[in-house]
Symmetry: C2
Subunit: 353 residues, 2 copies
Amino acid sequence: MKPIVRPPDLRRRALILSLALLPALSVPLLPTSAPAQTATTEAPLPSWNDGPAKQAIIDFVRATTERSSPNYVPPEERIATFDQDGTLWVEKPMYTQIIYCLDRVPAVVAKRPELKNVEPFKTVLSGNREAIAKLPMHDLEKVLVATLTGMTVEEFKAEASKWLETARHPRWKRPYTELTYQPMHDVLRYLRANAYKTYIVTGGGQDFVRVYAEKVYGIPPEQVIGTASGTKYSYGKDGKPTLVKDPRLLLNDNNAGKVEGIHLMIGRRPYAAFGNSTGDRQMLEWTGAGAGPRLKMLVLHDDATREYAYGPATGLPDSKVGTFTQALYDEAKKKGWTVISMKNDWKRIFAFD
Amino acid sequence: MKPIVRPPDLRRRALILSLALLPALSVPLLPTSAPAQTATTEAPLPSWNDGPAKQAIIDFVRATTERSSPNYVPPEERIATFDQDGTLWVEKPMYTQIIYCLDRVPAVVAKRPELKNVEPFKTVLSGNREAIAKLPMHDLEKVLVATLTGMTVEEFKAEASKWLETARHPRWKRPYTELTYQPMHDVLRYLRANAYKTYIVTGGGQDFVRVYAEKVYGIPPEQVIGTASGTKYSYGKDGKPTLVKDPRLLLNDNNAGKVEGIHLMIGRRPYAAFGNSTGDRQMLEWTGAGAGPRLKMLVLHDDATREYAYGPATGLPDSKVGTFTQALYDEAKKKGWTVISMKNDWKRIFAFD
């Protein structure tokens, strides 16, 4: 008989960070605003060029929602899941949440001055990008724990909201929340107009993404599944209950963990799933293994001019491209998943284009 | 700095079982049917007698949903959470899920004959109720692990569905799914008609409750939060992905764990919460600590004729009544929570009354 309790696998947690190449820290400039919304009476997917990717989405929606279809899916079962980083918004030069954590270090050290001369905080405070880039995984985890846990859930939400309003992406000098892909907003809207419930299923922090998902994507907190730490319930000095974010890892929502997260939080198999890296592979496989038509799509970053080109678009061997492997795109081809070329399939990338 | 990973606390898991007094194993008799549904144009809460409990619900709904109210709550924030055992359905003589696990033992032993003469399976197979009642907690956990894990999520769903169709409650000789409280169906319907999203937040097994919650309560799987084990993603002989229920405990959704579960799965504080035991105390406290009107209700089992009388209704000291303590009802009174008297507040208990 298996043991009843096994500790979560730390190595899987480490994968969250494994692509965290080092960024410029962000510089406050402008207020955040939501991406432009277009009218709902328009033809579907206006930011998409005609082609097989756009057609696959339209065919899938018709097949599963038209009453006369042999593959009609009842509304309550219409679940669509979306990876976030690299699928709904820009993930370069590094995951936005990692930038948030690095940016938070000065405030954490101000409250806990004993950390000032302790690594990795000392290096992060130095602003030396090369040195920060060389911090070992174990040190980066200390930064995550120090900046994402130990405060109440309300305090975290307030801090992250404030940061999102002021932080700017180093390339576009815009709030990160404006660097969401307009064609994916089209897909979210189109699916929801057809009674699909849209979920984010992200390797990133669940609480972090929940701060902006409703405003930015129209996805409420209860439809955001992400890597989640525990919380600790206790009572403040006034006797009022508080819920404090805890370093204990509850769910590592990446790779097979995405399927586990979907089962835990939804309890139904998705009919549509969107991703862009090997972290999404199992979610797409699991979706594809269901009966009837299932939409499995991978975003290929092949547009160095308008966004970035990486992974298979570079021609580099898999050992050099992190989790955006040629092997994944070969699996996609073999299994009939649809690859979205940002360069060819997307008329525009951002709402401000 | 705290450790990043701590194993879940086994003692908390044990609490799930702590009220599991021993039952007659169930006897198949009749097909399951959903409780009677009444028209939606009726006055709210038809199965309730007029009184402070009914009035508290109506006042709360008006205060939070009428546009002119100073305490108006936007629809997307309208969350109501319900304990299940003893709050939505009968929990005596023991939790239905424990009866399911005991009933499953012969099938498990048929597949794994090496367990036949091993405790606790030997005792469970004997049918000796007194001996089964004396099984130590550690042994009951072995029964849970053997009957709730080690199969795919689809296999578990099929097995539990089949059992629910045939098993009967020893007192009423009806399917367990008919032993749901009609007045609570009224509340679920009334809240949903006012744009509240209704959730079950149960110490029982999440996967078990999800099997029937949509059909029985109109609550979809993604709105069932319960004690949850992990799952393991792998590939079958045909290469198809499978998700197998794993003994690893992910969430112990009882006591403070209910608040943690609500944060994990919803990410919003409820406006209304219903419970009946100390396992619900923190959920009600957390709900009550939010701003504006919040509905906190406790079901008091004080109707030995139509259902059962236990806890404070017995006049026994708290040391004798398990988790249905006078201390909890004293806290309710002190904090302005509303106690529902099944005897006085409910016109009828079941749909078949």
